[in-house]
């Protein structure tokens, strides 16, 4: 009898933080091996850095044979599924990877005695709040934000349907905007532009965004993987409060200063219309199957995407502790230690 913890998306921002947390403290489940699916051979050393004991599989969630190999020889499985694309080459990838890939991964696990699953979703299936003083609850109607949102919504629906049919318990976690160690280059760029005053602030900056420090997300997923709650729960996993855009920029600069980095105290202000334009261009591009990361992000900057973590606190005992400034400091440190231009 072999029991495996299968982690997909292991080379990603969340994946590496989660594996690092496992290296520090195992989940406490009766697991024989941790199998990690990564997309690219260059991810292999990164995953090894995070969790030495991991068995690493290079493969694609779009491939039946890659997925079959991932589960080969397992009798029972615990699954943490985080493989997805957020900034893809084309809109079609959203669906084949995020939705189709999820279906393949879950079906594979169900054939291997799936015990419990954690599905890492996103804020995007739920869209944006109408105003800065509203926050999303856990069980909100779907209102997907463009292609990514629609694909992540499909993935959630697939997870719920498959798990319900098989009577396997699971948790869908919805993290909003990430920050923290293991950040990709685009986040390093964010840290740098905010620090040097060239990050575009669209509108007045009073719109609110929830963010999640990656170690908080890892904590939330650990709790979701080990809870004994029956059925399928959906929870926001974020920092304890949403922040206004201005607060976020202030915290990033304060963190940079505390790390002894040069800070230019100014903000590149763009009128709200710029955000509206960007969103329109993004929508038009996505309609034609094209995806452009900078434009997509610019279109989202003046939106309210704020959530309440009351449900995760209540049901999972989730209690995030690290402040925004401290989390951003650790982000700068990670960047500096790993040769990023932050």
């Amino acid at each position: 009898m072999t029991t495996g913890l299968v982690v997909t998306g292991g080379g990603g921002w969340f994946g590496r933080s989660f594996l690092a947390s496992l290296a520090e403290t195992p989940l406490g489940l009766p697991i024989d091996e941790v199998r990690v699916l990564v997309h690219h051979p260059t991810d292999v050393p990164l995953v090894q850095q995070s969790l030495r004991a991991a068995k690493i599989y290079v493969g694609d969630v779009r491939s039946d044979s890659d997925v079959a190999e991932l589960y080969e020889g397992l009798d029972t499985t615990h699954l943490v599924h985080s493989a997805a694309v957020i900034h893809p080459g084309s809109v079609a990838d959203f669906f084949s990877i995020n939705a189709g890939g999820t279906e393949r991964i879950v079906r594979g696990a169900l054939q291997r005695g799936l015990q419990r699953m954690v599905h890492v979703s996103s804020n995007s299936p739920i869209g944006t709040n109408p105003s800065p003083d509203e926050v999303f609850r856990d069980n909100e109607p779907y209102n997907p934000y463009y292609g990514y949102g629609a694909s992540k919504m499909q993935a959630e629906v697939i997870v719920k349907d498959l798990l319900t049919a098989a009577a396997v318990p699971g948790t869908i976690v919805r993290p909003p905007w990430f920050y923290g160690p293991y950040q990709p280059e685009r986040q390093a760029r964010f840290l740098k532009t905010v620090r040097l005053g060239t990050f575009p602030l669209v509108g007045k900056g009073l719109n609110r965004r929830s963010m999640v420090y990656t170690e908080h997300l890892a904590l939330g997923v650990r709790l979701a993987a080990t809870t004994d709650r029956p059925g399928i729960g959906t929870y926001w996993i974020a920092d304890s409060q949403p922040y206004s855009m201005l607060e976020i920029l202030d915290a990033v600069r304060a963190a940079a200063r505390a790390e002894g980095l040069e800070v230019v105290d100014k903000v590149l202000r763009l009128p709200n219309a710029a955000g509206v334009m960007a969103e329109k261009v993004d929508a038009a591009l996505q309609k034609r199957g094209k995806y452009q990361q900078e434009i997509h992000v610019a279109g989202e900057l003046n939106k309210n995407i704020a959530c309440s973590i009351a449900g995760a606190r209540r049901d999972l005992g989730y209690d995030p502790q690290i402040s925004l400034v401290e989390g951003m400091r650790r982000s700068y440190r990670y960047g500096l230690e790993n040769g990023q231009d932050v």
Binding site: T128, N129, P130, S131, D133, E134, R137, D138, N139, E140, P141, Y142, N143, P144, M153, Q154, V157, G311
Partner: protein
């Protein structure tokens, strides 16, 4: 004709004002535009009731993009004779917002409690003796499954069995109290305007039901015609500063739930509300009889055959929002009804969509066979993944909005840059004029307003007595 105090309108504000003043010995004449109808003599929500007790058959319109349809009572007792009877105590958060934003004196958190408690007893505010009926429970179940806070809202009801009771409207309570203490009530009497001399209102010109005109001289007048009519009457009388420019409403979107069990009671409304999203939006149940069900489904793609058979299985629910946009009331020369306009902003549209989404979500979470959004070309849905497509059908051009809550056309407070009356309803512009109805609420309260209207009306009427060297009587009826 001469009276010490004239009260215009016999609804929640007017009846309360008249009762407080009469009980203290003031000579009060109440004039009411609409007819006197014996309570209980008309079927609730029937065409007959629409004709006799509502203004313009219950179809008034605030023009805009989209327009908002609204309803008002027009009879002795005002809207309280036709309303759902759902009672909320004034919310502290709201009072604090008003005190701060408009500089309203003596409106701290908790300051209205001493008025609310006797009102609750006078109206026998109560919940169903053995729990809410099935159409209410449906909402409760859906909300419980989503972990959203929902609760039974008590009503001004005197229950005579576990499931039936009599709504304690103004004609059964505060108007009776006023008359018992000597107040006179003229029904079918419309106040056209006031005569103002040297900055003081001295008389009202009225049109009686038989077509005759009359003049009523008074020392003071309380304007309690409801948020739209009070603003129009003041404007017709030349009192215009900050009058009619800040109207608020709680526009609603609706959806029909289709259930296997026959849970709809066509003569009553569900009493459970989802409070999770207060103050931005709330979800509750609407009256559902055959014409109303037909109207709710008319523009959808749901086939309408055998509607009569489906009626017991198809209660209608609503989601109401607070808006960012405001409305305007403008009295028009030689026209009896004012022009009402309302501006729905982009944020309001987003909130209406969010409200529709949540409404569909909670109804799907309950035991329903299908849920049909009441929207142009909407399709019946059975799963949460179908919600986005239907919500997208709620647009500026197609949204079908209605409301029964209109407030805030004559805001109160000391801040003269935006208030028409002071903290106790006294006009900043003309002496002898007080406003004491839903008009003086500073903005949309996010709850059913009558409880707040009555508490403020009691407070302001008592203040008037104190100003005139008189002592208010006990607040609770004997």
């Amino acid at each position: 004709m001469r009276t010490e105090v004239l009260v215009v309108g016999s609804g929640a504000g007017g009846a309360t004002t008249a009762a407080v003043l009469a009980a203290a010995g003031v000579d009060v004449l109440i004039v009411e535009e609409g007819p006197e109808v014996a309570p209980g003599s008309l079927t609730p929500f029937s065409i007959d009731q629409m004709r006799q007790q509502y203004r313009n058959m219950g179809e008034l319109i605030a023009l805009g993009l989209p327009s908002v349809t609204f309803a008002e009572g027009r009879c002795v007792g005002g809207s309280t004779e036709v309303n759902s009877g759902l009672y909320h105590r004034p919310h502290d958060m709201t009072l604090e917002r008003w005190a701060r934003g408009w500089d309203v004196k003596d409106l701290a958190a908790g300051s209205l409690l001493e008025f609310s408690e006797p009102i609750e007893r006078n109206l026998t505010v109560s919940t169903f003796p053995s729990g809410p009926p099935p159409a209410s429970r449906l909402l409760q179940e859906g909300a419980a499954r989503l972990q959203w806070h929902a609760q039974e809202i008590p009503r001004w009801f005197r229950f005579d069995s576990p499931i039936t009771g009599v709504r304690q409207s103004m004609s059964l309570t505060y108007l009776r109290q006023a008359r018992r203490h000597g107040a006179t009530l003229w029904s079918d009497t419309w106040v056209e305007r006031f005569i103002v001399e040297k900055g003081r209102a001295i008389a009202a010109l009225v049109l009686r039901g038989d077509g005759t005109r009359d003049r009523i001289d008074f020392d003071s007048v309380f304007v309690c015609g409801g948020a739209v009519q009070s603003a129009a009457l003041l404007q017709r009388s030349g009192i215009r500063r900050h009058v009619g420019k800040t109207l608020t409403m709680h526009p609603t979107v609706k959806a029909v739930a289709h259930t296997a069990a026959p849970i709809n009671d066509p003569t009553d409304v569900p009493v459970v509300q989802v409070r999770e999203f207060y103050p931005h939006m709330s979800i509750g149940g609407s009256a559902t009889n055959l014409p109303l069900l037909g109207m709710a489904l008319m523009r959808t793609r749901r086939r309408l055959d055998d509607l009569a058979g489906l009626l017991p299985h198809m209660p209608i629910y609503y989601a109401a929002i607070r808006t960012q946009g405001l409305g305007r009331v403008t009295a028009l020369p030689r026209m009896r009804d004012p022009l009402v306009t309302y501006r729905i902003t982009g944020q309001d549209i987003a909130r209406l969509r969010s409200a529709m989404g949540r409404l569909l979500e909670v109804l799907l979470a309950a035991d329903t066979i299908e849920v049909i959004p009441s929207a142009l070309h909407a399709d019946p849905i059975t799963s949460a993944a179908q919600i986005p497509e239907q919500v997208a059908k709620v647009t500026r051009r197609t949204a079908d909005l209605m409301t029964v809550h209109v407030c805030s056309s004559v805001p109160m407070g000391e801040d003269r840059s935006k208030c028409a009356v002071d903290s106790y309803g006294r006009s900043h512009e003309v002496a002898g004029v007080l406003v004491n109805d839903a008009s003086i609420l500073n903005d949309a309260p996010g709850i059913n307003p009558q409880g707040t209207v009555m508490a403020l009306a009691t407070r302001n009427a008592e203040r008037f007595l104190l100003d005139h060297g008189q002592t208010p009587a006990a607040r609770e009826f004997s």
